[in-house]
């Protein structure tokens, strides 16, 4: 990614002249808003951004960004983005994708990009439905969901995004909610700054085909009690009264109330996003309502080599030692003979 620059952008600089065509009320609008507000904070020249997407409602995103953009084919955003970043490591590369795009047809590219730890920022719009094709279940749809292709309810267990990311050797995983713009901005900035594949799962609402699917957790009335915003180095505290917390009970997480059963704030777990061993982060990413609050924020952020940097470095080191510096050298290398 590029060096810090001094140009000062505003949200407006990242708006393209194209009409935004998502349904009124779709969560995608808020994500666009948050991203357009996060980018100016990065100090990266505008021309260094590339937004790559697959196909889906969410994948229309690049058209609305006044940056370089490539709206690809369904499921392949992670592959295209990997090519963009490897070819030009100077770019800040964003992969915009949906739960179908990334986890159904694109599942393989998704896990391989993560494994390679290519420095791209994946924003996964998880509305637990195929929006663009008008409402079929996706690999994140909860078991039993009635959709156009599951009129009697699905019989499939959904992926948990964080679990899959960590299972694929993921080093950065965060979760946010479309409507929480402030948290989202912060997370996008952290994702951008993290070197390596960053995956941000956005709990996004599709007003048309899966309206309110996240409400049980993210609804205005309940969200404080049913979500926890994790911050690196801070105790795991949540709740309307900010008096709930997480502790470790044997090998499991447990929700506790501060002040009850002798629990004080200092007994709470302190979030360590940078711990390489994913044990606790794994459990945090997997917390489900009603047993637990759903974790938001940066759950895992661990440093590691990136693919594109290692490639660059290997090229450099080979070039230093090699006698072949250009094509003519190569053509004349090895066994050759002259005819006179």
């Amino acid at each position: 990614m590029a060096e810090q620059q001094t140009i000062q952008y505003t949200q407006k600089d990242f708006k393209s002249d194209q009409e935004v065509r998502w349904c009124p009320g779709c969560g995608d609008h808020a994500v666009l808003n948050a991203v357009q507000r996060a980018l100016p904070e990065l100090g990266i020249p505008k021309e260094k951004f590339a937004f790559i997407s697959g196909i889906g409602c969410s994948s229309r995103f690049p058209y609305y960004m006044d940056t370089y953009g490539f709206h690809g084919i369904h499921g392949r955003a992670a592959a295209v983005a990997s090519g963009v970043k490897t070819a030009n490591p100077e770019l800040s590369v964003w992969d915009i994708t949906g739960d179908g795009d990334a986890l159904a047809i694109g599942g393989n590219h998704f896990i391989h990009a993560i494994r390679r730890n290519i420095d791209i920022n994946i924003i996964l719009f998880n509305n637990e439905i195929y929006g663009l094709t008008k409402g079929q279940y996706s690999p994140t749809s909860g078991k039993g969901l009635v959709t156009k292709t599951s009129p009697f309810g699905t019989v499939e267990e959904p992926f948990s995004v964080g679990e899959l990311v960590i299972g694929a050797k993921g080093k950065f995983f965060a979760r946010t909610v479309d409507s929480n713009i402030a948290l989202s901005i912060q997370i996008y900035i952290e994702a951008a700054k993290h070197k390596g594949t960053s995956v941000v799962e956005v709990l996004q609402n599709c007003v048309i085909f899966n309206d309110g699917i996240h409400d049980v957790v993210t609804g205005k009335e309940v969200r404080d009690d049913r979500t926890i915003i994790l911050k690196h180095g801070e105790p795991m505290k949540f709740g309307k009264e900010n008096n709930m917390g997480l502790v470790l009970d044997g090998l499991k997480l447990k929700v506790v109330t501060i002040g009850e059963n002798g629990i004080a704030e200092k007994n709470l777990l302190v979030h360590d996003a940078s711990e390489p061993n994913p044990g606790i982060q794994y459990m945090l990413a997997n917390m489900r309502y009603p047993e637990y609050p759903v974790a938001l924020g940066v759950i895992r952020s661990v440093a590691g080599n990136t693919y594109e940097a290692d490639v660059q470095e290997q090229i450099k080191s080979v070039q230093k030692d090699s006698k072949i510096k250009c094509m003519d050298d190569l053509l004349l290398s090895g066994s050759i003979w002259k005819v006179e």
Partner: protein
């Protein structure tokens, strides 16, 4: 080394080295070829590996062969039938004897013809009897025992000693063709610099074989093949896969671009990726993708980012790339897709050659989705056509599909090394940085080519993608816009015809029969035509390299012949394609779908039959 033997001269000769996978036949063949090349013969070689899984030792399935065709004049194919067969075991005899010319020489390791090996090869009795080898010049040399004897004092373990058997055989062949040992000895010194005892053992075995041949009567007379009349210059042997990789590398250097290859291994295309991976010295970014789709998609990302983007594969892999090629067509991004054809359909005959992916290359995508299609015709001209493919892709902002095949990929021939400065310029249509806003689908009025704005360039920010678009890159469902864009994309590809050379005719410009081929069969067709011409037939050859678009003079070439015969290694795909494009001619067909190249004999016979109106 003094020669006291009878000598005859020959124009050309075919030699086949064959043995078990572990017998080192590929190396033996390569060393022989290099020596012949250094001597100045023209030549063509083809390795013939066993099918992908290693068969048990000693079986026919496990036989590995290497054929060399060398001559005093131009050599276009590795040859149909061999003059000399080296067979290290009974299975090698079984696999190859039908490809030896009647009366040819067969050298084998007598020590290996044990009952067990004879049975493993599928013989019931002595192969000499069963195969009626008395019709050949058979030299049953006790190779194993002789190397044991020759190396008994050198202090090597028995296994290592036996491993030099191939060099004993090679020594015999060197003597037979009156070749020097020097090049091979130097090779040992270099290769085994750290194990001088192995180098020494190989040299001893080589010489032992040479002297053995000199000693025995059976190998008389010595065959001499004078150097060919070859253009002056610096030469090397090169196989098709390496030539392809190098042609693309040369194009990248010429265009001033970095090369990115996104590929997934698949026989027989893997060699291209492997060579690219080794070319970190030239800054190549080789991305071994998780599958073929990721291969092309990473390449498209790299193309969007301003690299010369390449993806290489074979038939089934090309099928997987179909959808993404559609995206490349719609996004109008340059990319070279190399397809090394193999025996199909499905997994088919992965290690064998065929020309049956033509229709897929032309039409294997949804919608109206034209790409440029080019086919190489010899191992070394893969360099030229890969370079051309990249040049067209970059200058016309289009995917170009380069077809080679298993036979070209693995076959090799001497190649006059070009100088980079002599290669044509490559000038991609980079966007003008001062023309803002950048309109991604605005076109050059003549070539209809859009320009290329590279991410990172200030002011040229833009969006492209797979939905139908207007000039500006805005998604559009307007019916007339769609029709116009469909036609523009077709015309853009059609206009590449303005840049490609005319179809050339080998032989007279008119006559009784025009043999038509495409891509990798050229050597066989040319040899057949040359022989037919020598026999007095009015036959010429037109072999196509540019397939979509066609050169402009096709009709002009075709109409001067009474008959047109299309020869190809499939059921008639190119013939059908010609029927579509040049409906006015009548096409007869010669087809073969056996995983093997044509033989010159079968082409000649078919042509003569057609000429005689049967």
């Amino acid at each position: 080394m003094a020669k006291n033997s009878q000598v005859i001269e020959r124009e050309e000769v075919v030699i086949r080295f064959s043995g078990d996978s572990g017998d080192g036949m590929q190396l033996t063949g390569t060393l022989f070829s290099d020596t012949a090349a250094l001597f100045g013969n023209d030549l063509s070689t083809f390795p013939d590996y066993p099918a992908e899984i290693r068969a048990p030792q000693g079986t026919v399935g496990g036989v590995s062969g290497f054929q060399v065709h060398l001559g005093h004049s131009e050599i276009n194919t590795p040859g149909d039938y061999s003059d000399v067969l080296v067979a290290m075991n009974p299975a090698a005899v079984k696999a190859n004897v039908k490809w030896v010319k009647p009366g040819g020489t067969i050298i084998f390791d007598k020590d290996n013809f044990t009952d067990k090996n004879i049975e493993k090869a599928g013989y019931k009795s002595d192969p000499v009897v069963e195969e009626k080898l008395d019709n050949y010049n058979v030299i049953a040399a006790p190779i194993s025992s002789m190397v044991k004897e020759a190396l008994k004092d050198i202090g090597l373990d028995p296994k290592s000693i036996l491993r030099t058997k191939n060099m004993f055989a090679l020594g015999m062949v060197y003597w037979l063709f009156d070749r020097r040992l020097k090049y091979t000895e130097q090779y040992f010194d270099k290769k085994f610099a750290k194990k001088p005892e192995i180098a020494e053992a190989n040299k001893i075995a080589l010489r032992a074989g040479y002297y053995y041949a000199e000693t025995i009567e059976a190998l008389n007379p010595v065959i001499k093949i004078e150097p060919a009349q070859i253009a002056k210059g610096t030469y090397r042997n090169i196989c098709g896969n390496i030539a392809t990789a190098w042609g693309l590398l040369a194009a990248a250097e010429k265009a001033g671009l970095k090369l990115f290859i996104g590929s997934y291994p698949i026989t027989p295309a893997t060699g291209i990726l492997e060579e690219m991976a080794a070319r970190k010295d030239l800054g190549v970014k080789s991305f071994q993708a998780e599958d073929e789709i990721a291969g092309i998609c990473t390449a498209l990302g790299a193309s969007f980012s301003g690299n010369l983007a390449v993806t290489s594969t074979s038939g089934p892999g090309l099928a997987l790339k179909s959808e993404a090629i559609g995206l490349a067509v719609m996004a109008e991004l340059p990319i070279v897709i190399v397809n090394v054809q193999r025996g199909g359909p499905s997994t088919g005959l992965p290690t064998k050659t065929e020309q049956s992916d033509l229709m897929q290359a032309l039409y294997g995508r949804s919608g109206e989705c034209p790409v440029v299609v080019i086919a190489a015709s010899t191992p070394s001209d893969c360099f030229h056509f890969a370079y051309e493919a990249a040049k067209i892709a970059l200058e016309h902002m289009t995917p170009v599909l380069l077809l080679t095949d298993g036979y070209l990929a693995n076959g090799s021939e001497p190649w006059k090394i070009p100088k980079m400065k002599d290669l044509p310029e490559i000038k991609p249509p980079f966007a003008d940085k001062t023309k803002i806003p950048f309109l991604p689908y605005a076109r050059d009025c003549e070539t209809l080519v859009r320009s290329w704005a590279i991410p990172g360039t200030p002011g040229l920010e833009h969006r492209i993608g797979g939905l139908e678009k207007t000039l500006k890159g805005t998604v559009s469902y307007i019916p007339e816009n769609h029709e116009q864009m469909v036609k523009l994309r077709a015309d853009k590809v059609a206009k590449v015809a303005d840049k490609i050379p005319d179809l050339t005719v080998y032989g007279e410009e008119s006559g009784d029969l025009l043999l038509v081929g495409w891509g990798g069969s050229r050597g066989y067709l040319m040899t057949a035509v040359r022989e037919l011409q020598a026999e007095g037939y009015k036959v010429s050859l037109a072999n196509f390299n540019y397939i979509n678009p066609f050169p402009k003079n096709v009709n002009e070439v075709f109409r001067k012949f009474k008959k047109i015969v299309v020869a190809e290694l499939n059921l008639g795909q190119f013939a059908d394609y010609l029927r579509m494009k040049y409906q006015e001619f009548n096409y007869e067909q010669v087809n073969k779908v056996q995983g093997l190249p044509f033989t010159i004999k079968e082409i000649k016979e078919k042509c003569i039959k057609i000429l005689e109106g049967k």
